[in-house]
Amino acid sequence: MQWETVIGLEVHVQLATHSKIFSGASTAFGAEPNSQACAVDLGLPGVLPVLNEQAVAMAVQFGLAVHADIPEVSVFDRKNYFYPDLPKGYQTSQMYHPIVGPGEVEIALDDDTTKRIRIHHAHLEEDAGKSLHEDFHGMTGIDLNRAGTPLLEIVSEPDMRSAKEAAAYLKAIHSIVTYLGISDGNMAEGSMRCDVNVSVRPKGQEAFGTRAEIKNVNSFRFVEKAIAFEVERQIELIEDGGKVVQETRLFDPERDETRSMRTKEEANDYRYFPCPDLLPVVLDQAYLDHLRSQLPELPAEKRERFQQALGLSAYDASVLSASRDMAEYFEAVHRVCGDAKQAANWVQGELSGALNRENLSIANSPVSANQLGELVQRVLDDTINGKAAKQVFQALWHGEGTSADAIIEAKGLKQVTDTGAIEAMIDQVIADSPAQVAQYCDAEPEKRGKMIGYFVGQVMKASRGTANPQQVNGLLKEKLDALL
């Protein structure tokens, strides 16, 4: 039987507001436990929430970026359940009237095509605190620093058909929120977490199979692995005559497997109802227009422009637009050197290689976009050849000079194009290599082309790499052939 996988994602994005969604406490990561929880976050008797306007603006910006309907009125609801790291006994969320309505995201697939994934809605909510089960001798510690941190939960339609598509969707969301600057997108610190809904159905069947929800998957790689495991588990189960039950599962990254957490029967009744402490959020057209006018160019638009206006391949355009930092770096290199293809090659080649080796982000690159742009310019205007350019890049990387020109000058890497100077070096090499010259003259004419490589190498060596290789090649051929 041929099976089809159906995937929907719920992505929780921590918004980069300065203070919490309903209080003035700081949202900075990594502070001493409970040092960033005020009376409101602790859920003390009598406290009341006040909505953070910045969180609203960020949610709306996301909505506009995914071409979503932004309803005029949205409402906060209470989701009621007991848990020690949920101080009020309810989470303030949006169940019935979310701030962002239906929208869509375009994802890039490996075969250079794109696919639209529909977004069902996105809503604002507060994060809970953390339960710490270690170091408390059989007791549980509670850290409420994270309690009240604003989250945007982005719920997709079940539009993805493979683990790769799910990962591509997650990357697309990641790049949109980081482009907008509404989240740092740091998955390791939990700024972006994801619940994955997976089901399988016989290919061609229209009705969805029973789904399992995998909670809290927090890396692109884990999303693929969790889905791969889950799909295999479900297919095996069905083929062995079993049935998938609707349940919540946890992904164990150590074993690459998912495990049952609770079934539908054990699920909480959250008793949602509108939060009486908060007024409905009413957004007018002028506010939306203002936020729309502030939107930066988004990844899909950049990708399109890189292909259409700059003539990059779909692959290059997609890689270079994936993150805002990468795109801005590339665009700066391009501005300085004026050649998009060369700029793309250098950013994705030399630079990305060096960054990966040292595990650095492009924002922390030791070589600035301006420096790289000037370097590429020197290749384009034939001041240096490709080999010397790599030396200059390494020198810039290690801080041996402030600009490509300074390094070229200091290291004497300027390409020699003076025919007289090159001819003198060639004459010297021919004079120093009588045996090789004799071999060349005795060889079959068709083999001579290969043998000329030796002489080119010697001349380049003599010029310490600065001679123009094409020129050397042409002059050598002339001179050697004259000896025949």
């Binding site: 602790l42 003390l44 009341l48 006040v50 009621n80 006994g89 109802f273 402490d277």
Partner: protein
């Protein structure tokens, strides 16, 4: 001293006739002498009060005092007070010292008032007799066998007995107006959103409102001047200018249009209460007002709607009392669920548990639409009834309660207790203001006239109530208890 109104005392302080220390010592002594009999205070903050009184006297001497500087007050124990026990009448918070001041407490402090202590109340403001307190029932100073009403029963009894010139209460379904009526004092429930709820322990967030309880409408006006106004910490508190409520107290009432809701004079109304209310209305006629009958057709849905909405909100508001971070925690919990179950079963009293159960049920999957959504629709109809009535009349008048104060222990069945609030509850559902003023007696127990106005009509209500009190002296009557214990 204690036979004077807050306004008179403020004037005496202003003229130097009295010091705040004298006044504060006097009230503290009265609380000490007779407080135990009435059980109207949960906590008396004598040391802090005297400190504040001395500071007030210094401010007077320096000329930095405002009208209420040095005036003693009591706070219902639902308002958070920094460093002072804030129990909400519950075992759950018997060990809770609030780490911050409620906004109204802060405002009163800034105005220089002196807090004598925290008054007894029905647990988490759930009750109409003050019999649901962990700290025991409060007695009515007019008759020690009668209830003082609830939930702000401690505040009402303390004012009536002359243990404090005034007190703050809160009103979710009548909790200021009904005890004010039962104890023969004046109590105002402002428009929802007029006074900040920040720091007031929530019972039903969409209905709760704090207000003044004192001897006269004039007293209430001066207190509301301090309490009212926008608070950035409460999103439901309205950003709207606060008039000087004392300024318009003497506006003439000629041409005032009074409506009598026919539904407030029907079955179940004690004939003596009805008589007193109708007599009060005729006083207004003599002052130049015109009277007509009006109808609030959805009145009989108010109690059912309230007992869906209020418990629903309460079931969620009271979830934070889980034994984890503050408040009561059971001994030796075996696990998390045991901790929750026993802390809440042992920490909450019966009525609170009953309302949490009702609220949990009505919000449950499969019941939500039938109960909560329906109740909200009813709420809109009730609000519209009032808005329609205020198209034709300026104020509505009727009884604050169907009967005078009943005997302690008389109402055993919760539903008969709920029916007590039949004339007050709709007002909270509509969000409009209401005031109860003393208007007579039946069998030695006070009767309250309730006056209702449209949203933000507090100035008018206080004006209408004050004019009545300029013509009658019901509000100046004191129980023998207040005199005997003097």
């Amino acid at each position: 001293m204690h036979d004077k109104t807050l306004t008179q005392l403020a004037k005496a302080l202003g003229s130097g006739e009295l010091s705040s220390r004298e006044l504060t010592e006097h009230y503290l002594q009265r609380i000490q002498q007779s407080g135990a009999i009435l059980n109207s205070f949960i906590t008396v903050t004598a040391d802090q009060a005297l400190e504040r009184a001395d500071a007030a006297d210094q401010a007077r001497a320096k000329g930095t005092a405002s009208l209420l500087t040095g005036v003693p007050l009591a706070l219902k124990d639902i308002f958070c007070t920094q460093g002072i026990k804030t129990s909400c009448g519950s075992r759950m918070l018997d060990n809770f010292d609030a780490p911050y001041d409620a906004t109204v407490v802060e405002k009163l402090k800034t105005a220089g008032t002196v807090t004598l202590g925290k008054t007894n109340m029905d647990e988490f403001a759930m009750g109409s007799s003050n019999e649901n307190s962990y700290y025991g029932p409060v007695k009515n100073p007019w008759d020690l066998t009668a209830v003082p009403g609830g939930s702000s029963g401690g505040s009402a009894a303390a004012v009536a007995a002359g243990l404090t010139p005034a007190a703050l209460g809160t009103d979710t379904g009548g909790s200021i107006r009904q005890p004010a009526a039962f104890c023969g004092i004046t109590g105002l429930k402002p428009t929802y959103g007029r006074v900040s709820r920040y720091g007031m322990i929530a019972y039903a967030s969409s209905l709760d409102q704090a207000g003044p309880m004192a001897r006269s409408a004039e007293d209430c006006a001066h207190l509301l001047n301090v309490m009212a106004g926008h608070d950035v910490r409460d999103s439901t508190c309205v950003a709207r200018g606060v008039p000087d409520y004392a300024e318009t107290l003497n506006a003439p009432l000629s041409g005032l249009k009074i409506g009598l809701p026919i539904e407030y004079f029907g079955e179940g109304l004690d004939p003596e209460v009805e008589k007193a209310v109708r007599e009060a209305v005729s006083v207004y006629e003599s002052l130049g007002a015109t009277v007509r009958d009006v109808s609030l057709p959805h009145t009989h849905y108010a109690i059912p709607a309230y007992y869906v909405i209020a418990p629903a909100e309460a079931s969620s508001n009271l979830s934070r009392f889980d034994g984890v971070r503050f408040g009561y925690r059971c001994d030796d919990p075996s696990d998390l669920i045991d901790l929750y179950k026993r802390s809440r079963a042992e920490g909450f009293g019966d009525e609170v548990q009953r309302r949490i159960l009702i609220g949990t049920h009505t919000l449950s999957e499969g019941f939500f639409d039938a109960y909560y959504t329906k109740a909200q629709k009813v709420r809109r109809l009730i609000r519209q009834d009032f808005l329609d009535a205020f198209e034709d009349v300026d104020v509505l008048m009727g009884p604050a309660s169907p009967t005078p104060a009943f005997d302690l222990g008389a109402k055993k069945d919760p539903v008969s207790m709920y029916l007590q609030d039949i004339y007050t509850i709709a007002v909270n559902l509509a969000g409009i203001p209401g005031i109860s003023v003393p208007a007579g007696f039946a069998g030695g127990r006070p009767i309250g006239l309730q006056i209702l106005g449209t949203h933000f009509a507090e100035a008018q209500l206080l004006n209408v109530a004050h004019q009545f009190q300029q013509t009658t002296d019901w509000h100046l009557q004191r129980p023998d208890f207040a005199e005997e214990s003097a």
